[in-house]
């Protein structure tokens, strides 16, 4: 029996739910593998030895997260960073847009419903100031981004891994899965998502909306664009963006909008209204994305 461990670091548990979303396939999987450690599901309180596959979700926010990650690394043959938080810091990386003091004072001392108080400091662990993806601390054998990863993808990866085979994963961007038709237009305005009424079936970029489908890894099936909502980039950067030092989510999406709308890139840049939340929303904590020469992340973070 292959031994699997599930651990959530700084996570929302959505990744664990996505594994449970294998539904009856989970039962089949448990014929070949056993879950030996998963605090959200079972009462084993200590990481056992001899784990074959450890699946770690969430980002790293304190020493305890880091120690747990390193312990899992030591005790596991294969360590997988599962979900966009573990791979790139995820949406909680947005906390880096503010200092730790700003974050905690908004909750405890400068808050409309709260009797102003000091930051809690007994028994609870001290906070660190920055969000880290798992790979900042240890060697990772496999990255499965997605917020959360789609259950079919998880199935297609876990089953071969359990059988000691190499999984075959899609490598295209969200655009490749999106059914909307792209067309070149003459347009000089970028619209906020609350403005207008997007036409179904037509590419969001071709309608003046910021959509990150072209710079996002597409293993989701383009579900959001199908549901009438532009891509927010939750799957993490596309392989083109990751591989090329001069490629970035921000410059990638600007080039794409300029190309489709015939608007000069400078005009596109002027109109982008919320870079931190809309463009870099899921990767602000990512060292890889921050270190790119063209990245604007260093200008956005306060930490």
């Amino acid at each position: 029996m292959v031994k699997i461990a599930l651990e959530a670091l700084a996570s929302c548990a959505g990744c664990e739910i996505s594994i449970l979303d294998l539904h009856e396939d989970l039962v089949k999987l448990l014929d070949q593998a056993e879950i030996v450690y998963a605090p959200v599901l079972m009462d084993v309180k200590e990481v056992p030895e001899g784990i074959d596959i450890a699946i770690v979700s969430g980002s790293v926010r304190n020493e305890e997260n880091q120690e747990r990650l390193e312990e899992l690394r030591e005790k596991s043959k294969i360590l997988i960073a599962y979900g966009t938080c573990a791979c790139y810091g995820g949406i909680t990386g947005m906390a880096d847009l503010y200092t730790s003091e700003e974050v905690t004072s908004r909750t405890y001392s400068d808050n409309p419903s709260t009797v102003p108080s000091e930051l809690p400091n007994e028994v609870v662990p001290e906070l660190l100031s920055i969000v880290h993806p798992a790979a900042d601390f240890t060697e990772i054998d496999g990255f499965i981004p997605g917020c959360p990863p789609k259950e079919q993808l998880t199935h297609d990866i876990l089953i071969p891994l359990i059988n000691d085979e190499a999984p075959d994963v899609p490598k295209k961007s969200v655009c490749a899965d999106c059914q909307r038709e792209m067309e070149h237009i003459e347009n000089d305005k970028i619209y906020r998502r609350v403005e207008g009424d997007p036409e179904p079936g037509k590419c969001f970029l071709s309608q003046g909306y910021v959509c990150l489908g072209s710079v996002t890894l597409g293993r989701c099936g383009g579900l959001c664009t199908e549901a009438g909502v532009p891509c927010h980039g939750c799957g993490g950067p596309s392989l083109d963006v990751i591989r090329e030092p001069s490629h970035d989510i921000y410059n990638g999406v600007i080039k794409r909008i300029a190309h489709i709308s015939k608007m000069p890139e400078k005009d596109v840049e002027k109109q982008l209204y919320d870079i931190g939340h809309v463009v870099y929303g899921f990767v602000i904590g990512s060292t890889i994305m921050e270190d790119k020469q063209v990245s604007l992340i260093p200008q956005l973070v306060k930490k």
């Binding site: 419903s113 997007p198 929303g281």
Partner: protein, 482 residues
């Protein structure tokens, strides 16, 4: 003075621990439920275009993302002055029902029930859903199938089963087709049958463990829930507060919550303690969630759930015992499936008028800087774990200046803390505490189905279960792992 520590509390969502102080005579002098995380969402929403909040806030919690998605959407409706059409409201309610079916079945079968199905003192290695799968595969498959139906409903209506996206300012980005309805309706009906079987298995457990129901974490409090007059309500309505005997105390609209709810910070927990402002702390302690909703509601407007509700009311009246949260959760699970069928059988659910768009143009960022205008939106909803409030204040252009979130689990924080302490005092003598006793303390916390990603936002990892023994000067004598 010695300290017993239970860390991490398992089979809950998020990171927490329980500490118990034992004095030199072997009596419990104090005990607390500590939440080890803090959320940064309130701060980092600042600067965001408010229409992005419904996409950002589902990541507060991967279990009850739909509730955050919808509370945020309701707040943005208000910021832009938009009223979703009736079909859009029904779609949002249906999406929320999918959430209830998934979350309640997850909690009952996967997290809570193992204590009752396997027993509080059973082998910890088997006391989980996988143990149930081995010992009672039919029950486990029922659990898996019920939750799957909930996720299917949310997936179709919300675009994705986890972190849905279709609620946008003024309504929905996507409607339902008749094909969608033909796919979902039989599944919702199937959920009713599955839940009926689940209830048959579960109901005897409350009698079997009536002693635990009586003894664990018992407390008397006020209760708060949304209401639509007399009926149970998940999506919209004022909040109603009742006292411990069921008498109505207050009723308030979302925008007035600051006049009724205040939060206290304790130095030993990152999770704040909300209470009723006019009654002060701790007298103003109140609870939310399934137990509170069934205490506040006079009626449930669906057939099977109302039968279960009548039986439950006869047995428990205004229920106070935390373990009855499980029972109340099952009744709500039935209501959610029946109500989903009602909505799917409603012809207007496939209506195409699903969004009120913005009339007129938005201020630019520059214009907003010059203007002193601010806007506010407050979205209040029943998340599976209780009342959830998203309060956004924006500039004239709709960029968030300040966000405040009151989450369900926070409102049960004081009751979890008191419940753990009083039960520890009653049950524990000396420092050698059996695993089963420790698990009973965890069962109190588990009954509330706390969602600590919501309650805070994850910063902390967990440590192995260890007991730290201190001497009366507070010096650490020894640590041992269990």
């Amino acid at each position: 003075m010695k300290q017993i520590e239970i860390s991490p509390v398992t089979r809950i969502e998020g990171h927490a621990k329980i500490t118990v102080q034992v004095d030199d005579a072997g009596n419990v002098s104090d005990a607390h439920f500590h939440v080890m995380e803090i959320r940064g969402f309130e701060k980092f929403l600042e600067g965001a275009a408010v229409e992005e909040a419904p996409r950002i806030t589902p990541r507060i919690c991967g279990i009850c993302q739909t509730a955050h998605h919808l509370a945020a959407a309701k707040a943005t409706d208000q910021v832009f002055g938009l009223e979703p059409p009736e079909t859009a409201k029904k779609l949002r309610e249906l999406m929320l029902l999918g959430q209830y079916i998934h979350s309640h079945s997850l909690h009952f079968y996967f997290l809570g029930a193992p204590d009752l199905v396997m027993g509080p003192d059973s082998d910890p290695a088997m006391r989980n859903v996988i143990g149930i799968l081995k010992s009672n595969p039919d029950l486990a498959m029922m659990a898996i199938n019920t939750r799957k139906i909930g996720q299917e409903i949310t997936g179709v209506v919300g675009g994705k089963p986890i972190s849905p996206v279709t609620a946008i300012p003024g309504g929905q980005s996507k409607g339902l087709t008749s094909d969608d309805v033909n796919k979902l309706l039989p599944r919702a009906k199937e959920a009713i049958n599955l839940i009926e079987k689940g209830v048959e298995v579960a109901k005897p457990l409350f009698e079997q463990y009536s002693e635990a129901v009586e003894a664990l974490g018992t407390i008397e409090t006020h209760f708060g829930a949304l209401t639509n007059g007399d009926g149970i309500e998940f999506y919209d309505g004022p909040a109603k507060i009742i006292d411990k005997s069921g008498g109505a105390v207050y009723e308030f609209a979302a925008n007035d919550y600051l006049d009724y709810i205040e939060e206290k910070v304790q130095p030993w927990s990152y999770l704040k303690f909300p209470y009723l402002k006019q009654l002060g702390f701790p007298d103003g302690n109140y609870r939310v969630g399934p137990l509170a909703r069934l205490n506040v509601a006079g009626t449930i407007p669906t057939e099977k759930a109302s039968e279960l509700f009548a039986e439950y009311k006869d047995a428990y009246g205004i229920a106070q015992n935390p373990l009855l949260y499980h029972y109340a959760r099952l009744i709500e699970l039935m209501y959610a499936a029946e109500r989903a069928v009602q909505l799917l059988e409603d012809d207007s659910i496939t209506g195409t008028d699903i969004r009120q768009g913005l009339s007129g143009s938005l201020m630019t960022k520059e214009e907003a800087k010059q203007s002193s205008e601010t806007k506010r939106g407050v979205g209040m909803i029943e998340a599976t774990r209780g009342i959830l409030i998203h309060d956004y204040e924006t500039d004239g252009a709709g960029f968030i200046n300040r966000a405040n979130l009151i989450v369900s689990t926070g409102q049960n924080n004081l009751s979890m803390d008191i419940g753990v302490r009083e039960t520890a005092k009653a049950m524990i003598q000396g420092e050698d505490v059996s695993e089963g006793f420790k698990n009973r303390l965890e069962m109190i916390v588990r009954a509330y189905d706390p969602c600590l990603s919501c309650a805070t936002h994850a910063i902390d990892g967990s440590s192995p279960l260890q007991v730290d023994i201190y001497d009366s000067e507070g010096q650490l004598l020894r640590k041992h792992l269990l």
